[in-house]
Symmetry: C2
Subunit: 232 residues, 2 copies
DNA sequence: ACCTGAACACCGTTCAAGT
DNA sequence: ACCTGAACACCGTTCAAGT
């Protein structure tokens, strides 16, 4: 008896992974458990283990699904546009799956899709004429920005919805204790003007930092940067 | 009967926090549980809850302990040295407590020590003559580098000890599939020459990226950067 | 004021068994 | 080949009780 409704079209790795992505999209990474995912698939927990080695492997697979959504830039563009386009595409993918940033941070095994993205980014620098040494350094400098995210300083990193704005009294107390944070928080470069409460890791901030780095990379490249001589 | 050995000098928040830091240093963040910490303190799990609201609050407190280890730079130095010194001090603190980076990333409430560090960094830019707007942007651009870490692309982010170097056959297969990663991985700017296996997020890479950013900040500041006019 | 004991509602994962 | 059931060794946290 396969159940009265006749669902459960048989499990496979892809169905498990996509169900996990959908569930994480819905309830967040903390609430994603093997048992809950199994329930969602109308199956006993242990059934998952035929398609995924353990929870770590599940998370690896989920990251691969999201990273696989990154679109390659148009072929033949300059290194700067290639890198920029790839990073901004990664960012769009990560914004679609808010949990993915955290999952990516905790991954220890580099899966195929992750390595593909890294290889393609390295390729953009190298074919743009960067030396291997400089490419190595700029890849490191890019760091997590390659995946379209940055560690946030102001906002709730787990923010699913808008955080409750602090009440005026708290705001005033904060401003007194942390005058410099208050000074910069109240610059309304952000669309909605409610900077402390929301909207700081927005597209403008991300692109500001990304372009700052790309400018730096371009400058080093143009100036013919050479690795420092080892002090023998 | 307080136990045959007569230990357990009575719990308090500080003892709980420092025991938690020591335990995480020893066994890692994943193995740190309320129950295990309680056992370490020779106390029943629920005893902890008198001194710490819940596990999240415990992690907040642990982060505060580590962030509190960051030393302020010598007073009166230029903004660049102030920021650089603070960041490198933060890095030293985080290297002493390898779990702290992950804990910091997952914190959602900004605790006092964290806000102090942010306020002091903002102060360095502002007293260096940066506008509030530019300070806002560069603080975002600095991001997690303010805490002395960057998301790593190559290495095991949870690496406690040195990872096992990949065997030659795997290396060759990797190099074929990911030629550009191989090309940049084999640049031996690193002290031990075993780049893929170890030693990538070393001090040199970190300072390269940090100085690249600081150079960018200095250039924008010197050029009198102004916020882009809103398109009204 | 501080700690304890027992219990609740969860986890990930093993093993041996079913079809 | 794929799924199940029961069990094991854990979690964080509640509640009511002890001293």
């Amino acid at each position: 008896m396969p159940g009265p409704t006749g669902r459960r079209p048989r499990l496979n790795r892809d169905r498990v992974l996509h169900a996990a992505v959908a569930l994480a999209d819905e309830v967040g990474l903390e609430a994603l458990s093997m048992r809950r995912l199994a329930a969602e698939l109308d199956v006993v927990p242990m059934a998952l283990y035929k398609h995924v080695a353990d929870k770590e492997a599940l998370l690896d697979g989920m990251v691969d699904v999201v990273v696989g959504e990154i679109e390659p830039p148009a072929p033949g563009v300059e290194w700067r546009d290639a890198v920029r386009g790839r990073v901004l595409s990664a960012r769009r993918a990560l914004l679609r799956h808010p949990w993915a940033r955290r999952a990516l941070e905790t991954r220890t095994t580099r899966t195929a899709a992750v390595l593909d993205q890294m290889d393609a980014t390295a390729a953009a620098f190298l074919t743009g004429g960067f030396s291997a040494e400089l490419t190595h350094h700029v890849m490191h400098a890019l760091g997590s920005r390659m995946w379209g995210f940055t560690q946030e300083l102001f906002d709730d990193p787990a923010a699913q919805g808008p955080a409750a704005p602090p009440d005026p009294a708290t705001m005033r107390a904060m401003a007194e204790r942390y005058p410099h944070i208050a000074a910069i928080a109240l610059t309304t470069t952000h669309e909605d003007g409610t900077v402390v409460g929301r909207g700081c890791d927005d597209q403008a901030e991300f692109e500001f930092a990304l372009d700052l780095m790309l400018d730096g990379f371009a400058r080093l490249h143009e100036q013919g940067w050479r690795p420092p001589q080892p002090a023998v």
